[in-house]
Amino acid sequence: MSEERSEEPVVEKSPADEGRADAEKADLAKTDPEKGRAAGDEAIRIEGLHKSFGDLEVLRGIDLSVRRGEVVCVIGPSGSGKSTLLRCVNLLEEPTSGTVTVAGNEVTDPDVDIDEVRRGIGMVFQSFNLFPHLTVLENLTIAQRRVLGRDRDSAERTARRNLERVGLTDKESAYPSKLSGGQQQRVAIARALSMEPQLMLFDEPTSALDPELVGDVLAVMRALAGEGMTMLVVTHEMSFAREVADRVVFMDGGAVVEEGTAARVVGDPQHARTREFLARVLDPAAARLPG
């Protein structure tokens, strides 16, 4: 299934994806048809999310849910609040109001142990944020050891397995500064995966990369999606969104303007703002033409 998804950059959903969605629906039907969707099957549920920085209202009431195994891409112009939305999911930003529920736990509940919630959520940043004073292997083992309490041997086994997934087994003793941007980002993905999260957040993972290094990172993400990882991805890579995303969400001015399958949102946008944005991203020259 993953193979088909990665090789065919199709706009329409492949039959395999239809099959997957059907299987999920069947799963739902087996459990409580009403509640199954709300609790068991939902990786993220965001309701009425508002976030202000001082007087600046950055998120103006976001409702969004991500099913388990789903890949959702968030697109939108700069400053529309995409990063803030993502950072509210693992509480790097504290929402002003509204609720965020991750795997059935309301993370916005003040009594919840936020460190424990974050353990289950991997986050990949635009600027990699590898720990420069640690080797690649240590970057991958430090949280396993200090947070999960794993011993060195098992932490290193997990780390090496994940380095293999991102194709960087030969770099384990290098320091981050010795790696290319693309390699650093793949290490960052492996670092997050080493905590065995149920959910991965990506904030423009390829925006800081030279164009020729983007492909390697996207390939890793594609494979991850193929393995059924739940992913919420902020990206400007439209081909990735079209090819991998189950759903695309277009944000502008702190609100969701439209959402739906990639084919619909990217291929046949309903709103003028979406069309305008897509025209600019897909063909930067077109945006400069009058009309």
Binding site: L92, D115, E116, G122, L130, F131, M195
Partner: protein, 263 residues
């Protein structure tokens, strides 16, 4: 008739005048000074010989011991103060700011005098002299080091803490494992400068009242000065300070070069 000079010609004239002034000053110094007296006062070979080995085996060693004690204590206290200064709890911040402002604003000399009198009064039991020295040098050093370390912690990019927290590390764990190690790399050059300053400040510990075996370089030199009526011991003591501080200064420059290259 005024001939305009080109810029290069003018620079040459200015340079010539600068060298001229230097030569005249040197000539005055050489001709006017009483070199016989100066030699007797500063370079008395017999007095010099008499200072060894004690000026090294006792005085230099004590200077190093005092400096290291003060530095280690000051660094520890400075780290605590820096973390208090950055704390979310306002009273901690106020305490740290009060401490830092006080000990940076008051002459170290006064702190030493106060401790020299205060410690024996405060603690009825006899306190080890080394402990008093460590307190005195460390209390003052900590105020400066706290600000250095705070700046270092703030210089670690915010993304580092965020990456650590998003891996599930607690705030404390993230500080200990991720932020502070990087902060120390950043502040290594200024901290080494702090060590140089502390080496010189250790000359104030005589105010705490020391016995003969506890003399450090400055006190040792002054004692010998009184005994021999010769500045030679002071000159030797000064040179021995340089033996400590020059390599440290060299180290600072190398560390700074390394940091510059890493960026």
């Amino acid at each position: 008739m005024t001939r305009r000079l080109t810029r290069r010609q003018r620079a040459r004239v200015v340079r010539a005048v600068q060298y001229g002034v230097l030569v005249v000053a040197l000539l005055v110094l050489v001709l006017a000074a009483d070199w016989g007296e100066i030699r007797r006062a500063f370079f008395d070979v017999d007095v010099a010989k008499e200072q060894f080995p004690e000026i090294v085996s006792t005085a230099l060693v004590n200077t190093v011991i005092y400096t290291v004690l003060g530095f280690v204590f000051g660094l520890t206290l400075g780290l605590v103060l820096a973390l208090m200064r950055l704390s979310q709890v306002p009273p901690y911040r106020w305490l740290a700011i009060g401490y830092i402002e006080f000990f940076r604003g008051v002459p170290a000399l006064l702190v030493f005098i106060a401790l020299g009198f205060g410690v024996p009064l405060a603690f009825q039991v006899a306190i080890n002299q080394y402990v008093t020295v460590m307190l005195a040098l460390g209390l003052v050093g900590a105020a400066y080091m706290a600000e250095t370390i705070r700046a270092g912690i703030q210089a670690v990019p915010k993304g580092q803490l965020e990456a650590a927290r998003s891996l599930g590390m607690s705030q404390q764990r993230a500080m200990v494992s991720i932020v502070i190690p990087q902060a120390f790399r950043i502040v290594l050059p200024p901290l080494t400068n702090e060590l140089i300053l502390l080496t010189k400040d250790s000359s104030l510990v005589y105010l705490l009242g020391l016995s003969l075996g506890q003399y450090e370089l400055a006190k040792f030199g002054r004692d010998a000065l009184n005994e021999h009526r010769s500045l030679t011991p002071i000159l030797i003591a000064g040179l021995l300070y340089l033996v400590i501080t020059l390599p440290l200064g060299h180290l600072v420059r190398r560390l700074e070069a390394r940091t510059a290259k890493a960026r």
